[in-house]
Symmetry: C2
Subunit: 391 residues, 2 copies
């Protein structure tokens, strides 16, 4: 791996025995000298125990973390008081190993909902994982692997800020939808930054990246984006907050793109741009409705330039639009003008839609509202993956 490893962080993964496959399912990220931190969590009303506890810890520690403990294979969601207790015991045990306050440990879980977390397995595995922690690229890579569930490949991205590094890892391939930190994302930098600056930077980066992607319209109960700054590189983000935020955003945008590319069953990544709406909120509503339409997503699966489905989905978004003012472009070619058919090269459109990635633009009028969603097609493979997941 050539991914730069930010200084001030240690990594390790292990196998607690939670995944039935026997693959690594436990990962930790440590900041031995501590790190400032910001975190964003799911907006789903049903939040998993680690999200409930993680919110609390980041608030109580006033944005300082010593470690993140992540398990895959079990979401520890809809597990009641016992689930909250399991998350708490995990943090208590790891805080003991580190000699840190418990609220400086952030828990994360991903996997099936509603099954009790086998916390004893986790507790048994933690000391060994802690002992193996190191600052190597291989260890970082092993963390990116251990947090995978239905992901087919790990997701990593890097950027630089002055002499500091920014590196992010993420997991996520389904349940991907805006309005939240839609997956598990850990962005680490060895720049120094205040928790307040990290919160601003993370908010901007998430809005520009993870909040612009949608695979299946489902918003997970667990997802979490964490930004941690060790300060080990001797550079302070406040020297150039804009440049720092840009670096964080670059990393998040790359991770978001990787997540869509690895979306369950996704064969084609589609950047859907909506413009000309009355305002951004109206544009976003139209973009999301189109991006979630099963008829649209299945047409994309067939590389079918059936723009009527795009138009029909835009029309049912609950936003007042004039159908006679709608223009649609597929991969730069106009296929609908004034809400009606225009002559276009269907073969060329089909060829463009057969590529792994292309762009669709829907102009709904002459207003200033714009929105962009990075999404994908809906294939039979998605159905197979999700019809067979838990049983």
């Amino acid at each position: 791996m050539s991914t730069p490893v930010p200084a001030g962080f240690l990594f390790a993964s292990g196998t607690a025995g939670i995944k039935a496959s026997g693959k690594p399912d436990l990962a930790v990220i440590e900041a031995p000298q501590g790190a400032t931190a910001a975190a964003m969590f799911t907006r789903n009303r049903v939040a998993a125990a680690p999200v409930v506890l993680g919110r609390r810890h980041v608030a109580e520690s006033r944005g300082r973390l010593r470690a993140v403990v992540i398990n895959a294979g079990n979401a520890n969601c809809a597990t009641g008081e016992a689930g909250l207790d399991a998350a708490r015991r995990t943090c208590v045990e790891f805080a003991r190993l580190l000699g840190a306050p418990v609220e400086h440990v952030l828990p994360s879980s991903t996997g099936i909902i509603g099954v009790p977390l086998p916390v004893e397995k986790l507790l048994r595995a933690l000391p060994g994982v802690h002992d193996q922690c190191n600052n190597s690229a291989a260890a970082l890579d092993s963390v990116a692997h251990a947090i995978m569930t239905t992901d087919t490949r790990p997701k990593m991205a890097s950027a630089s800020f002055c002499s500091a590094h920014v590196t992010g890892i993420a997991k996520g391939a389904g349940m991907i939808h805006p309005d939240m930190a839609t997956m598990l994302v850990y962005v680490l930098t060895d720049a120094a930054a205040s928790p307040a600056l990290l919160r601003r930077a993370l908010r901007t980066a998430v809005n520009e990246s993870f909040n612009c992607i949608s695979i299946d319209g489902d918003t997970s109960t667990n997802d979490t984006a964490v930004l941690m700054a060790s300060g080990a590189a001797g550079v302070n983000a406040s020297q150039d907050e804009r440049g720092f935020t840009a670096a964080i955003t670059d990393v998040c945008a790359s991770l978001a793109d990787q997540i869509v590319a690895d979306g369950e069953g996704v064969q084609h990544r589609v950047t859907l741009r909506v413009d000309g709406a009355a305002n951004h909120a109206a544009a976003a509503r139209i973009a999301r409705t189109v991006a979630q339409s099963l008829l649209v997503k299945t047409a994309w699966a067939g590389a079918d330039p059936n723009w009527g489905r795009l138009l029909a989905a835009a029309g049912r978004a609950g936003v007042a639009i004039d159908p006679g003012a709608v223009d649609i472009w597929i991969a730069g070619q106009r296929v609908c003008a004034g809400g009606a058919s225009v002559a276009f090269d269907a073969d060329r459109a089909h060829r463009a839609m057969s590529e792994p990635a292309y762009e669709i633009r829907v102009r709904v009028g002459a207003g200033p509202g714009t929105s962009r969603v990075l999404t994908g097609d809906l294939t039979a493979e998605y159905v197979h993956i999700n019809a067979d997941y838990s049983t």
Copy 2:
């Protein structure tokens, strides 16, 4: 066919050459002595030309119709002024054949969006179809067949009101979603009724039937429900408006059930009941979010009692719920209590979910709000049907 044929109506179908398959694609329903009528149309902002014109005709005729002319294979939607002109010419020609005012003819179209309607083909076929019109069950049946697109079977239902008949036919197998008359539906009765009474009865019947079903969350641009009363049976609906409305509702409920059963790729019909919400609107929002969740629908495809996906979808509906107060039942068996797992017989749940139809109940609290949606699973077959439809 044993379906009773209401008196005062004539039926015929023909082949205009719109469907590439060469199957019948044109149907007419005539009321030689005229009929009172009510109609409901799609709420999609992108409404097809026949919907635009149909709305106008029903308003201009003050609820009186002599005929409905239906074509399948082309939606005549997103076809601009030419499309509106094509719909108008169809009505003008048929009104000429009938010797009726043009606004007494209602046009309907279903099929692909954005392709110009080959109106000359329709105009050429109309006189022959008009000549064949008759009151036989075979002719009624042929209409139910001619309006099919991706439907695998025709949909018909009957009820009686005093000595009068109520018979409905419908088409629809995809793009099925609440908030509209979500398909083509024609309900005919030989009772007499005022247009105002018909409007009330149709509104009630549609709310209790077609507005409670969802296949894929897509709302069509074309869909139309028409209720026509010939008065030929010598019974007046005003004698017992409640009983008349119940008969109309029975017919619509049966047609709605048939539509879901024939939903594209649907292997399992699921009646989803949500109760305990703060109010009906909140319950409806939760029910629709769950019914549209791809993760939920694919779990149903696998007959997988993965109730965590139901809970997670309920949590993202944008309604304030307490996850700790959520109970879930699958086919009468409680699988989640207080938002957490309870011991349940997973084999029994799996067997119940392997049946063609079953019920799921989600209680989200102790409020008075309830809602019911009749929906289905999402299978790879749905994707195949819709990825290959137009090309």
